[in-house]
Each structure stands twice: as structure tokens, then as C-alpha cells.
Amino acid sequence: MLLIPCPWCGPRDEAEFHYGGQAHVPYPEDPAALTDEEWARYLFFRDNPKGPHPERWSHADGCRRWFNAVRDTSSNEILAVYRAGEPRPVIA
């Protein structure tokens, strides 16, 4: 059970959260302008790194806010949390 630091509420049990997949995959400005392949890439393709991974999380059973977290997928360590819309922080 991860202890996830919600940027609004502080550290809370993982069970209160909902996972939302890779962060920084914005909805395209004008989907109609995309080729089928570009649209399929937006829909179906995501990174699967071993190591730091920016992710979307929602504090579903708490403040119900979405935020982003950088999690190391090999250690489960959460390296940073930041609010939706903020840029991915540089992690040394």
C-alpha cells in the first residue's frame, strides 16, 4: 500500500486514489486535423519505462482532485507530486 502525498491533502493510503495513466498526454488541440495514425497514437500508445514515470492520479476517496506524480516504476517510490497543469519537475 503506497503512501501517496496528495498535493492538497498530504500523505494518504493508496486505496483512496484512482490511477489515471501516463501524465502529459494532452487531448489534441484539433483532433480533426490529425491523421489516423496520429490519433491512434494519442488513443492507444503510452510509455512503459522502468524508472521515473509521470502519472496522473485522482484522490478519488478524498478531495477528488486530479494531480500528477512522478513514480519510479521499479521501486514504487514517488519522487514528486504536482498539480494538474503544472510542468513535470526536474528530478535530480
Partner: protein, 953 residues
Amino acid sequence: MTPQAFRLPEGGRVSRDEPVGFVFDGVRYQGYRGDTLASALLANGVHMTGTSIKLGRPRGIFSAGVEEPNAVVQIEAPFPEPMLPATTVELFDGLVASGLPGQGRLSADPDPARYDAVHAHCDVLVVGAGPAGLAAAAAAARSGARVVLADDQPELGGSLLGTREVLDGCPAAEWAAEVGRALEAAPEVRVLRRTTVFGYYDDNHLVAVERRTNHLGPLAPAHLSRERVWRIRARRVVLATGAHERSLAFADNDRPAVMLAGSARAYVNRYGAVPGRRAVVFTTNDSAYAAALDLAAAGVEIAAVADTRPERGEWARRAEQAGIEVLTGHAVVGTEGERRIASVTVAPLDGGSPSGAPREVAADLLLVSGGWNPVVHLFSQAGGRLWYDAELGSFVPDSCRQAVDVAGSARGVFHLSGCLADGAAAGRRATEAEGFAVEEPLALPRAAEEPRSPALPVFVVPGPDGAGSATHFVDLQRDVTVADLARATGAGMSSVEHLKRYTTAGTANDQGKTSGVLTSGAIAHLLGVDVGALGTTTYRAPYAPVSFAALAGRDRGVLHDPVRVTALHDRHVALGALFENVGQWKRPWYYPREGEDMAAAVLRECRAAREGVALMDASTLGKIEVRGPDSGIFLDLLYTNMMSTLKVGMIRYGVMCRADGMVFDDGTVIRLAQDRFLMTTTTGNAAAVLDWMEEWLQTEWPHLRVHCTSVTEQWATVALVGPRSREVLGSLAPELAVDNDAFPFMAWRDTAVAGIGARVCRISFSGELAYEINVLPWDAPALWDALLGAGGRLGITPYGTETMHVLRAEKGYPIIGQDTDGTVTPQDLGMGWAVSKKKPDFIGKRSHSRPDTARPDRKHLVGLLPDDPAVLLPEGAHLIDSEVLPAPPVPMLGHVTSSYRSAALGRTFALALVRGGRDRIGERLYAPVGDHVVPVTVASPVLHDPEGTRRDG
């Protein structure tokens, strides 16, 4: 045999003035309070507890703790429980148990006991209350930190309970009890006895089970939970989990009365029970000498000590001083005896192999010590890495990314003074790391410094000529031998993980506590490689078996999942409704009358709705209020059709898709004001839809000024349906103009119905003239009663979800999640009319022009009419286009999604998703059902009133 013939007249921690009667394998015995089932059996001279799972070989009590591989028992009374190690079952009066070869039996009766769970948070969690754990907890507690100390035994002290060690001149167990009293008295300390920490998860989240009343047997108070799960979040953890002794692989090393040396020592010192009269000791290290001396002091004749080490160490000299024969550079090479050891054969070792004349020694007990394995399970679960200490011959903790320290024998420190100092240091480090100041260091008691000489780890004692190892057991619980391992390595396997799965070594419910390292050692021996390079298999939770009842806790029966009922639930119960679970909701399914089955009740309810007037509780539909100046823009993005153009006072049906273009939900949207909408969702999907809306608003369109609120439970809704519904509503709502021009289809009005403030919507999910009347929940029963009263002379009929389904299916209205499965577009459903061509974008729009979504031969929602109007197709039936089932692979055209008997059509019918279905209308298809094939004709999904003439009454 004399009762308790193997019980010492004094000594140990059992209460000789509290005798306890119990039954094992049908025989009545007596033990004492403070015994385990195993120690009580040994006191009665019983070693053999059963036969082995695969080979049926006699097996007996091997250890004195949770690591026990052999003495696994079935508890028969007071309540059946399978597969408990006899070494962990505290004896109580009335215990009935039997030995188990392999699997046990669960009770067929529900477990009457209570189980619960507690969440705990602490600065320092100390696992294990042996010398290291007690010192760690005492050191941490001095700082004022919040400390939890968890130990699996009824009494604190760990190994100190089973030795005769002395601290500051007093028995060490007295020191343990004193530390325990001080910890109990400290305000920030919680001591959990009989509590096994079985899982170590991320971010120092550990889970333990506390056995609270098991030891009381039939006297356990019913109001107390029998077991309690502790979910502990600790800032820092000190693991003082001790060490398990291991055996060696030699011929016939599995007979009853072959026992780990340290365990025999514990039986004598802790339980006052001698496991035999004449023992041979086989060891690779010093620790077994202490066992031999303690047993000798208790009157057990030690026939010989066979020590693999060629040198005669200080302990050997002590043994010899006590009159014990020590055979250095010797090994046990075989045993005899059926239900119990009768003799032991020893032989000199030369270069690791027996050489020279073997000697048979009569004995009824063989104590073995192949060394000690630090209990690294929890450390390993935490993500900690291990390294192989060749001198100890075992794996010890290295580093871990979690905030955890390991102390005492769990990290390979095996002498008492070292364990105390190690534990105290770990406790102090943990509190200092959390910022707690410690005035002066904990004063530790003085332990005698015992001599130490290095161990000579040996894993396998080869048979004569290096051959024959079919009785060299490594895993007693799985009956895995060195010969089995040799077959696996001979087949080319060299990874312990592969060998584990091939041979099943380490996969029994003891999880290889005594066999894991021995297995690695034996494999290394066979492959001629270093044990450290080979490594161990992965340690996984749970460390020890945990009952499902404990894990379920109070989440059983009605508490398993919340039950949601509407404001009208009591009315439905009074009307004799049967209920259907829809998500967490209880919805009336149908209302059978005397003598009616479901089919008859549903036909009657359908007829009432189509021909007269009927009513249904629609309160469970999800309701979300959307407010803010940008609400129209947002709903235009959310739904496939245009919502921003909806006029205040009007209602529109809408479909929403995922970004992949597949239908996600549907419902109605009513416009309450320029900046205020109320939308409905399907019953089971309300929370998911609200989450979906929040996700887009927060992550993609935070600039939209929109707020969403669930109001599902703020409104109760009654659907009033049928050609005569207008009469009923009109009679109750004098202020409402109910004629079609004043109150058209898809309009809503606020008015009073039966004197109750209500919002009435002209929505139909049946194709009939219908109204959905929304009131505050506490007004719902009065509304329901008024409608039944006003409609009484018209035969107003309550109906449930089954009738609702039939009525909507006759009209071809799909249920999202029943007629769709996440691969269905609105166009597939024939709802292209609900997909805006004008809007520049909505969620899913771009996907509708992907080549795969635009294919003409996608599966379409169609109607099916079985040729035989009495045949009801099973939902899920597949559809093919040939009368004879072809050879596999059978080309499937689709499947039946809904199937009913229709009163209006006077026949059965179905909805189905069929490849290119709209182009097949009129075609004959076939549904294989059981061993025959049902012919059906494809039809439009709208089978009743296709012109829609009935909706205005």
C-alpha cells in the same frame, strides 16, 4: 503409557496446576496450560503426527515454532480449521485435532466467530520480542516515540523462553517479562502478543494478524473478535524476527523423532517436556551443544555428538566434561526405525563425504543442526537485498530502500550480548532518525560471553559412493529429495526459481522456512557452484498462513458491500416485490401475485403499461447537476449530440462516448436554467460518469467554469407509464396543464402532484405516454401512495426492472452495458441521429472516422424473431448463418444481448449485435443452443410501434 511420561517434574513455563484435556487422532491425552499441541504430544511420548503428502512416510514434530513442516493438523473442535502447525496451536481444554497428510478440510458451516481489523500508525514498529526486539523497543520507547511491538508468541522473550540463559545473574526470561511490563506501562507503546506480522508492503505498510481468543477454545467470549488484522503504517521498522534452524540432507533424515536441536532445547526448557530418552546430536555449529547440555541436564542420555567440524572447539570440550562422546569430523549417514527413530548411523567425513566404518548408535531421538537461517522474509518482502554469508552458511540482509533496520539473529548475530546491543542500537537509530531525543542510552543487562568457533556449513551428506539420495529430504512438507533436485539439474535447470517450480520445493504452506536455504545449498552442491551465486527464491507475503476469515474481517454478509435502497423500498417490500441487485442498489425486479411465476408476472406488468397505467420506482438512475456559465460548452464536448441549444424547460436524450468512440453511457439532460442542467446516467454507472466528467474538467478543460454535483439521492423518481397515465397525473396535479400541446414530449414542468412539490418530466423509456415525477426522497412514499390511489380504478400496476427491460427492448432502446460491451459505437446501435455532424468536436468524434469504426460490416444492434414464437433464446447465444453447425473454427456473426417474452408482440423476441446486421434484415440466421440450432429471422430492433404513435397518448 503413563500420562505425560515425558514431562519433567519441574521447570518450564507450563502451569502444572492447570491440566488440560485434549484429543489427538482419536486418543485422549492430558497436557498443561502453557503447552502447545506439539509440546503436549511430546510430553505424552507422541512424535509421529501423520504421514507425508506424496510418499506416505511417517513424519513427526520437527520444530517448536511457525517453521514446522511436518506436524500439520486439522482442528476438529471447537470449530474446524485446516492445516495448522501443531507447534503454533496453544493447548486448551476441549481441543480435538488430527494429523493431516496434505490438505485439510474447511467447515461446511459458517464460522460463527467475529473477525475485525485495526489501522495503526507509529514512529517505530518492532517485529519480534526476543532479546534484540525487546532491546530495540525499550530503547525506542525511552525517547517518547510511538512504538508498536508485535510478537507471535503469548509471552515476550522469543528464544529466551527456550534457553537457560542468564542476564545480570537472573533467568533471561525474567528480564524479558520485566521489559515487557515497562513497555506496557509506557504511554506511547503498544505491545501486541500472539501477533504475526505477515506482510511488508510499500512505504512501510505492514500487516499483522493477532490471534485474540483462539487459545481460549470453547471458552472464547463471543463478543470478542477471534482474530484481528492490524494494518500498520510505521515511519521506521526494526525487524528482530530471529532465525530458524535448518536441517541437513542425509539418508532417512525425515523419520519421526528427527528434530531440530534448538527446538528440542525449547521443549525441555520452555515446556518441561523431553522429546526422548537417548539422543544423538548431529551438528555443523556450536548451537547444538547448548541443546545437548540442556537435554543432558534434564536427564536425557546424549549417546553421541557428531560434529562435521574436524577441530574440537571449546563447546566440544564442555560436552566431553559432561560425559558426552563427541565425534568430530563425523556425520550422520542414516537412521532406522518405523514410527520413530530406533538407531542412528554415524561415519567419519573425509572431504565432505563419508568414509571409514559406519557405526550404528541406538537412540530414540536425533537432534540436527545444519546452521541457522536469519528470518529475512519480511526484509525481503520490503524489497531488501540479501547476501550470502559463507561463514554462517546463510543469507543475511544487505540494504533496503525502505526505512527498515534488522537486528539480532535476523541479521546473523547469534550470541545474546550481541543481540541485546544490536537491538538497542537499532531502536535508538530509528528514533533518532525520526527526531526523538534520547537522554541516556538504555542500560543493557550483562550476558555471559560464550565461546564461539566458526561453523562448517554442510548441506548434503552424500550417500555411500555418492549414490542414492532418494531419502535425503530437503523439503519435508513437499517430500522433495536431493534425488528430485538432481533430476531437475540433470534436465538442465540451474535457477532456483525454475527448480522450485519443477520440484515444488518450498511451495507448501510452510513456504520452505526450514527447507529454502537447504534446497539452495543442495542445488549448489549438485551443480558445484557457490550458494551465494545461486541465491534464494523470492519471499512473498504472507509469511505464515492467514485465514480468509481474518482478512475478510467484518466485511462479510450484509457488510460485504454497501446496500443502497430507495426511499420507496418499504413500499416494494410490502407489495411482495422480488429484488434485483443493480450495482449496490436493490431494485424491484417484479411483483408476483399469488400463484404467478416470473414470466406470468412480467407479462401482466407489461400489459398494464401498454394498455392501462403502471408505475415504477426509477430513483436509482444517476443524477448529476451541472452548473456554471460554461455548462453548455462542456456538455457539448461530453455528449455526442448538441446540448447547448436545449431550451430551458426542455429535455434531450444524449449518448456519451469514450475517446475511442465507443458508447460509455446514455441518459437524459434537462435544462433547468441558462447555466444549469440536470443529467441522468444509467443506474450502475453514475459514479463512473461523474468521475469521467471531473477528469476532463480538471485535467483538460480547467478553464471551463463548470461544477458537477451528484444529486442521485436528493431526488426520488417515479415513472408513471401507459396510455391512461395522463388521467392519473391530471387528477393529482390540478395546476398542471397535461394536454399534449401544453406539456409536450421531452418537456418538464415544476408543479404540485398530490400536494407535493414535484418536477414532472415527459420522458418515455417504454414508447408509451409516460411521466417521470421527481420529488424529495421523504415525499416519495406519499407520492407513491397517491398515485396508487388515484390509479386504483384504472388498475394501476407497479412494475419492476424486468418489465422495464421488456418494454424498452420492444422499442429497441439499448441498455448500455447489456446490449453494448465497450466495442460498440452509437452508429452500431443505429443512433447516428444522436451524433452531431455540426459540432467541431466531442469526446470520441475523431474516432468515428477511424477506418475500423467506419467499416460497413461492423456489428449492428438488430432485433431477432425466433421462427418458433415460443422459443426464448438464451442471452449470450451466438449466431451463425448455417443450419448445420460447421466444423470449428465456426464463423460467428454475433450474439444475443437481450431476450424476452413480449405481451405486446404475443411472442418471444431478442436484441442482438450482428455483423452487418442492418443489411441482413429479413435474413435467416441460426443460434446454436445446446445440441440443436434455433432458426431466427433478423428484424429491425424497433418491434413495437415503429411509427412512435403511442408516446403522446
